[in-house]
Every structure is written in structure tokens, then in C-alpha cells.
């Protein structure tokens, strides 16, 4: 690809910038009126029925963190899968030993009860 092929991206970015800045600039022009409807949260949506700034349960964070840890292993598994045919047994054994350590971690997490949703 030539550098000029990326021109559409630049045009897109420029257009986005113009629209965004334009709206900002227009809002400064002329007088603005405040009324009750404008001040509502979610101007064009429905009213929130529960407190919006509610805290999540801490278990949510725990599960989310565990998800990230186990999810990111894919970054290694996918490349190995791509070259498995050429790299052969070496790649497979490496991957399996890696997976083994991940399973050890999983067993530990499980036994410690971190997977239970309380």
C-alpha cells in the first residue's frame, strides 16, 4: 500500500473534527435558553428509575479481573494454532505446558471459591 491510500482516513478524521468543532462553535453563537425539559438527564430518553451512580458489587470486579487474566491467554494460543503444522511437536508441547500452568491457576481459583457468585 502507498501512503496516499490512507488519504480517506485523513479525510474522515478531518471531517469528524470539523463537525465536532463546528457544533461546539455554534453553541457559543447567539443566546441559549434553559428550560426544565432540557435539563433532564438523557434529554431524549427515559428517566432513570434507580440511582444512576450505583456501585457495582465487588464480586463483579473479581470476576471481571479473572476474565481478563484467562482471556488474554488467547494471545498466545492463536499464534501457535497458526503455525502448528509447520512447528510440529515443539510448538504443541510448549503450548501444552503453558496451558498446564493456566489450568493450575484455574484449579487454585476454583478451590479458593473465587468463581462462586455470591
Amino acid at each position: 500500500m502507498e501512503l496516499s491510500d490512507y488519504l480517506p482516513i485523513v479525510v474522515f478524521l478531518a471531517a469528524g473534527l470539523v463537525v465536532g468543532l463546528g457544533i461546539l462553535a455554534l453553541s457559543k453563537v447567539g443566546r441559549t435558553k434553559q428550560n426544565q425539559v432540557k435539563g433532564l438527564p438523557y434529554e431524549s430518553g427515559i428517566l432513570a428509575t434507580t440511582p444512576v451512580r450505583q456501585r457495582f458489587s465487588i464480586d463483579f470486579y473479581l470476576t471481571a479481573m479473572l476474565f481478563i487474566v484467562f482471556d488474554i491467554e488467547l494471545a498466545f494460543i492463536y499464534p501457535v494454532a497458526m503455525v502448528l503444522r509447520d512447528a510440529g511437536a515443539t510448538a504443541l508441547i510448549s503450548l501444552l505446558s503453558f496451558m498446564f500452568t493456566v489450568v493450575v491457576a484455574l484449579v487454585w481459583v476454583w478451590r479458593k471459591g473465587a468463581l462462586e457468585w455470591r
Binding site: 515443539t90 500452568t101 493450575v104 487454585w108 476454583w110 478451590r111
Partner: protein, 482 residues
């Protein structure tokens, strides 16, 4: 694929898995004692394997790991430090409640250090640094009921991660300047073409020095050290102060002493300035500390400075002095921390220098251990600390770096003041509440044995210096071996 040279590394990593599984085991004895024995057996097995592999370079893991005399010698240092930390942790609060996690993380961190010492390419180097750091972040925070401990962990994590980013960015530029991640190829590529003026390479070296200075707690990136050392559980502080410093210096030697050795003129002054600043800041900071852990933290900043003086020399002689001093430093620092660990269990404020008032008279054995450690850290002959400093400053002076040698020597003289202050309090001080030091409990045998062994090692390394120097010379030569 040849995995044999990487066996020590794999044994330790496997041991970490076993310890973790044991802690989640079927309860009872396995859960209580399993991790400890798994950890001890792992460390011993890895040490034996390292001795077996002592010899010329063997590559493993596609050249990512190099088992040579350099990495095997440092393996032994890491394993010894981990073993001491393991013994220090017997009946330690953090060690009791979460024994499996504690020991597993200790082993993981050790494996990371071993990977750093034997790194054959930049990826392994970065990975090793990260494995050791990430495990240590958690270890620092493991006493979750203590807010200080948690804050130490969080602080260490943020500062450490920033350091890692600098280091990584430097490695990326080093890769960009040389076109390879293999340390040996980088050396060749850069020495063939005269790349010395290439801005990319200069930026790379500056970033790498910055990143590693974070890890070695050298000035100007030392600010985290006293807080983290103070907040972390003391056995972990002892492990951090010794093994992490050894690993960071190993990385310095691998990159600057090994791969970039031909560009010594370019990086010599930069590392020299960092070294001099560390010596000054560390020693001045330690003078006013009343907390023994903080005092040792500042002292360790100064020690990092002494060690970097040897790196700045950029010669084989410099590298072997660094290795010798690393070994001596590990022994004397472990001995010093053992004193805190023992006292800390007896009284609430055991980490304060004043809590040791009259302690030497009440417990002569601990007193002697502390005396040996402090005198060696201050650099009194014939202890190993003196010989190490003598070699380090000598190697710098030989390269015409007189200013560095002088700053190092003056720093050591200043350091005598605060090291001897500890000893004065210990032997001649009177406890605040009169008479005897408060509450003397029985010292757990493993802790006492470790403390005495470390002190004996400090003396032994001094008396047998020529023998140890021969070993270090072989190890340093492996850095440059093709």
C-alpha cells in the same frame, strides 16, 4: 528443542505450581506444610541442577535462555536468597495464613530473576523482569489486613510499572537500532557499523538505564524504596533488597557489559553519574533514619551506587567485582534483615533502631550477627564488604574514573556513621523503659540458623575472597564469550 539448560528455571516454575496446588489441596497437613516443603525441595533441586550445568554456554528455548557460568552463579545467589526468605517466613503472619500463595509467589519471582540472569534475547529479559516484579507486587501487599502493606504493594506496582515501561521502550528502540532481539546479534550488529552517534541508540540506552535504575532503586528513581521496604513484610523486604538488586544488576551486565560492551564510551558517563548520585543520596538519606528498615532501604540505594560504579568501569574486572560484591551484599543484607525479623516478632515497634537498645547484651548471638553485617556493609576489613568495595573502586580507578572511585570511598566513610550508630544503640544503649530490653521470645530455629549462616558467609567470603574471585572471574568472562 533443547530444554536441559533451562531446567533450573523450569524446576522453580514447576515448584511454584506445586506449592500453589498444595495450598488448594485436600486440607489438613498437605495444606499446612506442603507448600513449605515443596518450596524447599524445589530450591535445593534447582541449585543442584545449576551446579550440574556449570560450564560453557548452552542455549535453550530457541536461544532465549543461556545457561553459562554467569547465569548459573547468579542462579545460586537467587536460590540462596529465596531459601533464606523461605526460612525467615516460618511462622511469619503472612506466611501462615496464605502459605501456598506466599511460597508460590516467592518461587515465581525467583524464576523471573533466573530468567533475567540467563536471558539470551530482549524478550526473555523483559519477561524475566516482569515476572519477578509482578510476583513481588503481590508479595508486598500480602499482609492485606495491614494498610501499610497494601499501600506498599500498590505504590511499588505503579512505580515499578512505570519503570518497566521505560525499560520496554528502551528495548524497543534497541531492537529498532540493531534489527535483532538476540543479545549476541545486537552486539555484533552494533559493533560492525559505528552506530555510536545514532540518536535512536542513544535514546534506547537512556531509557534502559532509566528503567533498570527503577528496578535497582538507583537515583533518581529511588523515591519508592524507603516506603515500599518499610511497608512490605520484612522477609519479603529482605528478599527484595537482595535478589531484586542482583537481578537488576544482572540485567545491567547482560546489556551493557555484554551486548553493548563495545560502546562503553557512550554509556560510561551516564551510568557513572547515576552511580555517584545513588551513593550520595543513599548515604545522606540514611544518616537521619530512625526506622531500621528505612535505614537499610537508604543504605541499599547507596549499595546500588557502589555496584553501578563497577558496571560503569565497563571492563571484565569491573564485572567480576560487581559479581563478587553482589554475593557479599546478599549475605550481609540478609544478616541485617534477620535482626529486624527477630526483633519485630517480639515488640510492636521492632523495626525501629531504638527498639534494639541493649539488645546485643541480652542476645549476644544476634548482636554478633548484626555487628558482622553492619561492619561489612560499612566496609571494614577483612570482611567481604570491604574487599568488594575495594575491587569495585579499583576497577573504576583503573579506567581513569577517579572521580567515581573517590565519591564511592567518601560515601563509604559517611556510611560508617549510621551503621555504627545502630551498633552503638545495640551494645551500649539503654532501653527506654530501663533495665532489660522488653519481651524476649524464643527465636524460631530456622530464622536464627539463617541469620548465623549469613553472618558466617559474610566473614567466609572475606577470608576466602581469592577463591570466590576466581569463580566470579569465570562467570564474568561468560558475559563476553561468543
Amino acid at each position: 528443542m533443547n530444554v536441559v539448560p533451562a531446567l533450573p528455571l523450569m524446576i522453580v516454575a514447576g515448584g511454584a505450581c506445586v506449592a500453589l496446588l498444595a495450598s488448594a489441596g485436600p486440607g489438613g497437613r498437605v495444606r499446612r506444610d506442603g507448600p513449605f516443603w515443596a518450596g524447599a525441595a524445589t530450591l535445593i533441586a534447582a541449585a543442584v541442577m545449576s551446579l550440574v550445568l556449570w560450564g560453557d554456554r548452552q542455549e535453550a528455548l530457541g536461544g532465549g535462555y543461556r545457561a553459562d557460568r554467569f547465569s548459573m552463579l547468579l542462579n545460586l545467589v537467587f536460590l540462596a536468597a529465596a531459601f533464606c526468605a523461605l526460612l525467615f517466613s516460618v511462622r511469619e503472619p503472612a506466611g501462615v495464613d496464605r502459605r501456598g500463595e506466599y511460597i508460590s509467589l516467592l518461587l515465581t519471582s525467583t524464576a523471573g530473576m533466573m530468567l533475567v540472569a540467563g536471558a539470551g534475547d530482549l524478550i526473555a529479559l523483559f519477561l524475566g523482569i516482569e515476572i519477578l516484579s509482578v510476583a513481588l507486587y503481590v508479595l508486598c501487599a500480602l499482609e492485606v489486613w495491614r494498610e501499610r502493606s497494601l499501600e506498599a504493594g500498590l505504590k511499588y506496582l505503579i512505580v515499578g510499572a512505570v519503570g518497566s515501561s521505560f525499560f520496554l521502550y528502551g528495548l524497543a528502540f534497541l531492537f529498532g537500532a540493531s534489527g535483532s532481539v538476540k543479545l549476541s546479534v545486537i552486539g555484533e550488529n552494533l559493533s560492525v557499523a559505528s552506530f555510536t552517534d545514532e540518536p535512536l541508540l542513544l535514546v534506547a540506552m537512556a531509557l534502559i538505564v532509566t528503567g533498570l535504575a527503577f528496578k535497582a532503586s538507583a537515583v533518581p528513581f529511588h523515591m519508592w524504596t524507603p516506603d515500599v521496604y518499610e511497608g512490605a513484610p520484612t522477609p519479603i523486604t529482605a528478599f527484595m533488597a537482595t535478589a531484586t538488586k542482583v537481578a537488576a544488576l544482572a540485567a545491567f551486565l547482560r546489556i551493557f557489559g555484554g551486548a553493548l560492551t563495545d560502546l562503553v564510551d557512550t554509556w560510561q558517563v551516564a551510568i557513572g553519574v547515576v552511580a555517584a548520585a545513588s551513593v550520595i543520596v543513599g548515604n545522606v538519606g540514611a544518616l537521619v533514619q530512625r526506622n531500621f528498615k528505612r535505614l537499610l532501604a537508604y543504605s541499599s540505594i547507596a549499595q546500588a551506587g557502589y555496584l553501578l560504579i563497577g558496571v560503569a568501569a565497563g571492563t571484565l574486572q569491573g564485572a567480576e567485582s560487581v559479581l563478587y560484591y553482589l554475593i557479599a551484599y546478599t549475605a550481609m543484607t540478609l544478616a541485617a534483615f534477620a535482626v529486624i525479623i527477630i526483633r519485630e516478632r517480639e515488640v510492636e515497634d521492632g523495626e525501629m533502631v531504638d527498639a534494639l537498645a541493649g539488645y546485643g547484651r541480652a542476645r549476644p548471638v544476634v548482636g554478633v550477627v548484626a555487628t558482622v553485617a553492619m561492619l561489612s556493609l560499612a566496609g571494614f576489613p577483612p570482611l567481604s564488604g570491604f574487599i568488594g568495595k575495594f575491587l569495585l573502586f579499583g576497577s573504576a580507578a583503573e579506567q581513569g574514573l577517579w572521580w567515581l572511585a573517590v565519591i564511592g570511598a567518601v560515601g563509604s566513610v559517611v556510611s560508617v556513621a549510621y551503621y555504627l550508630r545502630v551498633l552503638r544503640v545495640m551494645w551500649f544503649g539503654t532501653p527506654a523503659h530501663g533495665g532489660e530490653p522488653r519481651k524476649l521470645l524464643t527465636i524460631p530455629a530456622p530464622v536464627l540458623i539463617t541469620a548465623v549462616t549469613a553472618a558466617v558467609a559474610v566473614v567466609g567470603f572475606g577470608l576466602g575472597a581469592s577463591l570466590l574471585m576466581d569463580v566470579c572471574r569465570d562467570a564474568a568472562a561468560a558475559l563476553l564469550a561468543a
